[in-house]
């Protein structure tokens, strides 16, 4: 029973055999395949269903899901509750009418588990009852009723688990815990874990993909008390928490899809400071790291909030787990994120609570409606500013070109904001009103503001409502501008109209010039101040333009950077680039350099990225970094990883996703070197970037990594 690790490192064994077996089975699809057996409940037997109001159809669906979803109790499970309907894995409310799903699910939010733990779901019920009294007879009454119906559905589902567990002595603890939680406040660690899990499972059963948030902050005090009272040992706590993580793999099916079969935005944050500024790191922090280290579960992508004062011991532990690979652990520079949020207008104590949306975009958990809109800045440069290279354009100087591009970017954002905002809101008598949306009542229950205000999650219910434009194509746009600056304006090698003509023809018969553009300039990611200044300026201008959109409706429009995997789809539509890229070739991801242009290694990439004022990007700016297992070997390697993280924080980075990669990836790098420029490899006594090695040498390194 081996759990995969990079470089065939041995993972430690701390958990019981039964728990490890449970993990192994779960990671090998046993429960995911079971979940897929029943896709959804059918609403076909509800008379006149298609003519009912959306809210009515929604509530009937949730009620039926709660009544009919299969109950699953896994052998020996320590926490109970399971999201057992297959359509939920596809981000849909698992209820169909005429064979088609009725509603989509909701994601990109981390709900308010704090209230569930400390006050219990009954508190939410009381709030909903009070709201109904307030809103009876108003247009808000149906939503308030919907809240109570969905809570009742949760009770129905909860009751079915109690019934199933009741007479089974081996699940006595599960039964006892569920008699209290999640409806009553949790009174100890075990109950707290069950409370979060059950609530999370219910949200997922209904088709939603929430994030978990700050697990150590949520659970730390419960564990501390139990350990002090002697009612629980650390080993017992580790086993209980392991079952939480293992249950979280119940949607893994092994069925291939674009972004893998195991990404349901169930992110976890660890460490960092609390509302009062005290460090959160506690026993739970280390237990989570233990579990990630032992089981290699990557289904809860986990980020650690690092600051200038982060304890050496924590940083070392993070580096130890990180180098096992898989990219399971990432880091936030919380000093910068908090500063960013304060600048954005959050109170400092609120800013300190930040978590993410289940992916890496940051938000205040349990209080935020979040949606982002990705776009490709390179498309604007190529199609709008440079008019698809169809015309012999000239600009007086580089500044004139940049200003023209900035104007085009501004126009794009303006048009987009009007269009998008208006689809969510309408203006009547000078004030904004929310348009009715899909009734996301289930997530609304766990988002502060919704129940009280009588407004659903997507109708302005939460405290903060965010529509975030996400700029993509950063490196390719910046490098294109820089190459034009050098070739046309600084070195006057070629006039712009002629260059555009060459680009239109995809560099045909101009290989020498293309090679000059590729090799003689140092692009974004090489710590070259001249080009990095363009990146910094573009991001700053983009942020200012986004800020200018605020106040058009009930939303704020904070800026962010991302491509996720979209650059793959964009690349085929993009024309040749002035920095030597051919038409349709690969594009840069997130804040990473353009593939094949970074030549100075990981520290130079981080420096280029950090020269921008990243505190002007409130929803985040991610940097991906690939490292080879051999480069993080031994004490030197551990120190190097810690040094990278420390430097990242000191220089003002935002979010770093390091990944330690193995031999199979090296083979891929051999085939497609352009996609793997940042891999650095240990070559007895020195490091080289893998793709710069000759074939025979690459083969040897691959071999070394396979042993």
């Amino acid at each position: 029973m081996e759990f995969y690790a990079q470089n065939h490192r041995k993972r430690p064994v701390r958990l019981s055999h039964a728990t490890r077996k449970f993990a192994y089975d779960s990671l090998h699809y046993q429960y995911g395949l079971d979940t897929r057996k029943t896709l959804a409940v059918s609403m076909d037997d509800v008379p006149n269903f298609e003519n009912l109001s959306p809210l009515e159809r929604h509530d009937l669906s949730i009620e039926k899901i709660a009544r009919e979803a299969p109950i699953r109790i896994c052998d020996g499970e320590k926490v109970s509750g399971a999201a057992t309907l297959g359509l939920a894995i596809e981000h849909k409310v698992p209820a169909t009418f005429g064979g088609k799903e009725v509603f989509a699910g909701m994601s990109h939010l981390t709900v308010d588990f704090e209230t569930v733990l400390k006050k219990g779901v009954n508190h939410i019920k009381d709030t909903a009852k009070a709201a109904l009294l307030r809103y009876e007879g108003t247009e808000k009454e149906p939503f308030s009723r919907s809240c109570l119906r969905c809570l009742a559905a949760m009770e129905t589902w909860h009751g079915r688990y109690l019934e199933a567990l009741k007479d089974r002595p081996e699940y006595r603890k599960n039964y006892e815990n569920l008699q209290r939680v999640p409806f009553a406040p949790a009174s100890n660690f075990y109950e707290a874990v069950q409370s979060i899990w059950f609530t999370f499972a219910f949200l997922r059963l209904c088709g939603n993909w929430p994030g978990i948030g700050r697990l150590d902050w949520l659970l730390g005090d419960y564990l501390k008390k139990d350990l002090e009272d002697g009612t629980l040992t650390l080993e017992e706590a580790r086993e209980i928490l392991a079952h939480f993580f293992i249950k979280g793999c119940e949607w893994i099916t092994g069925v291939p899809n674009g972004s893998g079969d195991a990404q349901h935005y169930q992110n976890i944050l660890l460490a960092g400071i609390d509302e009062k500024g005290n460090e959160v790191t506690n026993q739970v922090t280390y237990l989570v790291l233990d579990l990630l280290e032992e089981l290699g579960i990557s289904d809860f992508p986990t980020s650690v909030r690092i600051n200038q004062n982060t304890d050496e011991a924590l940083l070392r532990r993070v580096a130890e787990v990180m180098r096992l690979g898989g990219g399971t652990l990432a880091i936030y520079n919380e000093d910068l994120v908090i500063q960013t949020f304060v600048k954005e207008g959050y109170e400092e104590k609120e800013a300190r609570k930040f978590a993410n949306d289940g992916c890496w975009e940051v938000q205040i958990p349990g209080k935020t409606y979040f949606i982002y809109h990705p776009f490709d800045s390179l498309q604007i440069l190529q199609k709008t500013t440079l008019q698809s290279y169809e015309k012999p354009l000239e600009f007086a100087d580089f500044e004139a070109l940049y200003q023209a591009y900035r104007t085009d970017l501004a126009n794009f954002l303006d048009t987009w904001a009007n269009h998008t905002a208006q689809s969510f809101t309408r203006q009547e008598n000078g004030t904004w009103h929310w348009n009715p949306r899909t009734p996301y009542t289930v997530v609304s229950l766990f988002e502060e503001g919704c129940v009280e205000k009588g407004l659903s999650y997507a109708e302005g219910g939460p405290i903060y409502n965010i529509l975030s434009p996400h700029i993509g194509g950063l490196a390719d746009t910046v490098n294109s501008l820089y190459a034009i600056k050098k070739l046309v304006y600084d070195e006057k090698r070629i006039p712009l109209p002629k260059l555009l003509e060459i680009l239109k023809n995809d560099w045909q018969d101009e290989e020498v010039l293309r090679q000059i553009a590729l090799n003689r300039y140092s692009y974004y990611g090489n710590d070259n101040d001249e080009v990095d200044a363009i990146a910094a300026r573009l991001l700053s201008d983009f942020s200012d333009l986004c800020n200018g959109l605020n106040g058009r409706c009930g939303y704020r429009f904070p800026a962010g950077v991302s491509t996720f995997g979209r650059q793959l789809g964009w690349s085929v539509h993009r024309l040749a680039c002035p920095h030597g890229r051919h038409r349709s070739e690969v594009l840069a991801a997130n804040c990473s350099p353009t593939p094949n242009t970074d030549r100075e290694g990981a520290t130079a990439i981080i420096k280029s990225y950090c020269k921008a004022d990243l505190s002007k990007l409130p929803t985040g700016a991610a940097l991906d970094l690939k490292l080879l297992p051999s480069s993080v070997e031994g004490e030197d390697g551990l120190q190097a990883l810690m040094g990278l993280m420390r430097g990242f924080v000191a220089l003002g980075g935002f979010f770093l996703q390091p990944d330690v990669v193995d031999a199979s990836l090296l083979k891929e790098a051999q085939k497609c070197p352009e996609n793997h420029q940042t891999l650095s490899v240990r070559v007895s006594g020195w490091n080289a970037r893998f793709v710069t090695l000759d074939k025979q040498w690459q083969d040897m390194v691959i071999e070394q990594n396979e042993h």
Partner: protein
């Protein structure tokens, strides 16, 4: 500005950032040109000669002819292949300056201490308390200005390490000592005859210098190349262990397995590929070497 550091130059082949195995933490390594040894297994043949050279990577050449046009010495000819008449090369680097694909690269550029420092400063945020800068090569102390560079680094609070073969005048080492936090001291072989045969010099001076520096309190990590069939015998490992134990300030030993890439690099300098795949030690040999030292309680990095 320090007048010295603007005037003093060093011949540098490469400054490599984000090095993780040239001493503790994250380091920037400066490779300096010139070496008194001629190890048969040399990993960095481009740093052997003191004079600057041209590296030519045939696979990158697109035959644009830019170098032919720019070279006054007519070093380059382009027919079916791109040929270099290196003996006529004066090292003006006009060709490397114009080559669009970097098929021609300068190997050995004069840089002032200030210029080198400005590169070393770039990763200061990542060095922390453990990391810093490493001088390597070649033999760093073969260029006496290396001491100026080390001194300037210490003045700026940068931690320093030097990878040396030890075949250097004792006076230079004594002079450098206050500015070196860690010596990465190469022990190519402990057998005197084999040492002379494969490196071209006796190991007498190297061992004497090692002892002297240790007596002066230098912090030293021994670095031992392992060449299959040459020094992969127990008696060598035993001798390394004894040597390490004889030092008062040793901070462990590293074994570095031979690789044949140096041979490939030789071809880029216009020489024959002298790499020898038979010399590559296997994992068992590496483990054996480490185990012998571990028995003696010596830290093996």
């Amino acid at each position: 500005m320090n007048k010295m550091s603007t005037d003093v130059t060093l011949n540098v082949t490469e400054i490599q950032r984000f090095c993780m195995h040239d001493g503790p933490g994250i380091r920037t390594t400066v490779f300096l040109k010139g070496c008194p040894l001629r190890c048969a297994w040399c990993h960095n043949p481009e740093t052997q000669e003191y004079r600057s050279q041209i590296l030519f990577y045939p696979s990158r050449c697109i035959g644009c002819g830019g170098c032919v046009a720019v070279c006054k010495q007519k070093v380059h000819t382009l027919r079916e292949a791109h040929l270099l008449d290196r003996k006529n090369c004066t090292g003006c680097f006009s060709c490397t300056g114009i080559c669009p694909t970097a098929a021609l690269e300068p190997c050995g550029e004069k840089m002032t201490v200030e210029e080198i420092l400005s590169v070393l400063e770039k990763d200061r945020a990542f060095y922390g308390t453990d990391g810093g800068i490493t001088l390597s090569g070649g033999e760093p102390f073969a260029q006496k200005s290396a001491i100026d560079l080390l001194k300037a680094c210490k003045e700026r609070g940068l931690s320093t390490a030097v990878e040396t073969c030890g075949h250097v005048d004792e006076e230079i080492l004594r002079e450098a000592l206050p500015y070196v936090d860690l010596f990465l001291w190469d022990i190519k072989d402990t057998d005197p005859e084999r040492h002379e045969k494969h490196t071209g010099v006796s190991n007498e001076k190297i061992l004497k210098n090692l002892k002297t520096l240790d007596g002066l309190g230098a912090k030293i990590r021994l670095r031992c190349i392992l060449v299959n069939g040459v020094n992969t015998d127990i008696s060598h490992y035993q001798a390394v262990a004894n040597l390490a134990k004889s030092l008062k300030n040793s901070v462990g030993v590293e074994f570095i397995p031979y690789h044949a890439y140096g041979g490939t690099k030789s071809t880029f300098l216009g020489n024959a590929d002298n790499g020898n795949p038979d010399w590559i030690p296997d994992a068992a040999q590496l483990k054996e070497a480490r185990d012998v030292l571990a028995v003696h309680g010596i830290f093996v990095g």
